[in-house]
Assembly symmetry: C2
Homo-oligomer: 220 residues x 2
Amino acid sequence: MNLPVVPFGKPRGERADAARNREHLLETARDMIAELGVGKVTMDGLAERAGLGKGTVFRRFGTRAGIFVALLDDDEHRFQEQVLSGPPPLGPGADPVQRLIAYGRARTAFLVDHFDIARASLDPHQPTPAGGGTMTRLHIRMLLKQARLDVPDLDSLALQLTAALDGPLLLYMFPTDPGPVSAAGTFIPLADSWQTLIESIVRANRPIDPDQAAERTARP
Amino acid sequence: MNLPVVPFGKPRGERADAARNREHLLETARDMIAELGVGKVTMDGLAERAGLGKGTVFRRFGTRAGIFVALLDDDEHRFQEQVLSGPPPLGPGADPVQRLIAYGRARTAFLVDHFDIARASLDPHQPTPAGGGTMTRLHIRMLLKQARLDVPDLDSLALQLTAALDGPLLLYMFPTDPGPVSAAGTFIPLADSWQTLIESIVRANRPIDPDQAAERTARP
């Protein structure tokens, strides 16, 4: 079975009934996951429960993994909305260092909450897609810049911090058991350690405050 | 074609002629890569050039990707030997912070040098194997501990630094063009940025030297 997978998100110009079907299917899939767990969601089961033809489900998602790609994409959009226009400190308006810490904490929680769905979104017959992390990288880069850190290479640091944030959950814990993740509901150690990492970088690289520097120069 | 892939490294009790064949095949593959590039190495071409039967090559490597898995494994062993018993600062004997920096630089160079081989070692019909990084993680953890940093969670920090080190080359740049990597031969920006990262963590979290602390306490 090698049907083309529908691209992420709502295609432009999606007709109203197709959009309704999509929303209905995603909502039904969420209900099934909540009730039965990720492992029990199948293409046939989803079609039956949604009261739609199997053909509709196959055309929409392509493969079983495609269901979870669509769910993940939908939640990812909601997460990005919170970052772009939600309340501080995750959203705009807070100090950039506080936003960096809040982003790492929220992202860790997001990745933990989506661990099973993310795993199921990987098609076992396809190579794992290259790590995205583009939004995370750009966001981290912007906040590092706003924090006016005196580091030699903001791009590389942003890339390494993106990997430090996403990597432990995306790369190193697949496909092993998440361990403390599922037990505690949130993966506190990684979120705390992210805060330590950011605070260390800030403490070590924060340039002298311009006012203080001026004061210091002014002294005899 | 779904022959089982031979496990990493030299199997225990490998017979002498099998071991010789393996060495000969790896050496021939290295010659072919140096002359023709990774893309031109095929199972048939390797068998012909090595003067061995196709069956021998298939039994040894299973798939074309298996050739590169074996090459990578061989070089990985050599790299680990340098870390475990080579000259300082990569090998034992140097200050742990200097060793952390040297390890990150050497690892970056290793990953850059093996970029094409690592990419070719991914079987396009198999899911990408979970990121290993176990040796890197244990080594970083050991050195962080030796550096006696005052961080709340050494395990999480080691995991995040492993991801920061391996991630940009293993995850985020696959399968896109390596860009500056191939141009410069080494990926200087990431190695420099690794040093900044380690120095920041050390500067921000180095506990007060016990002698200095005693002196300070002794003062009235």
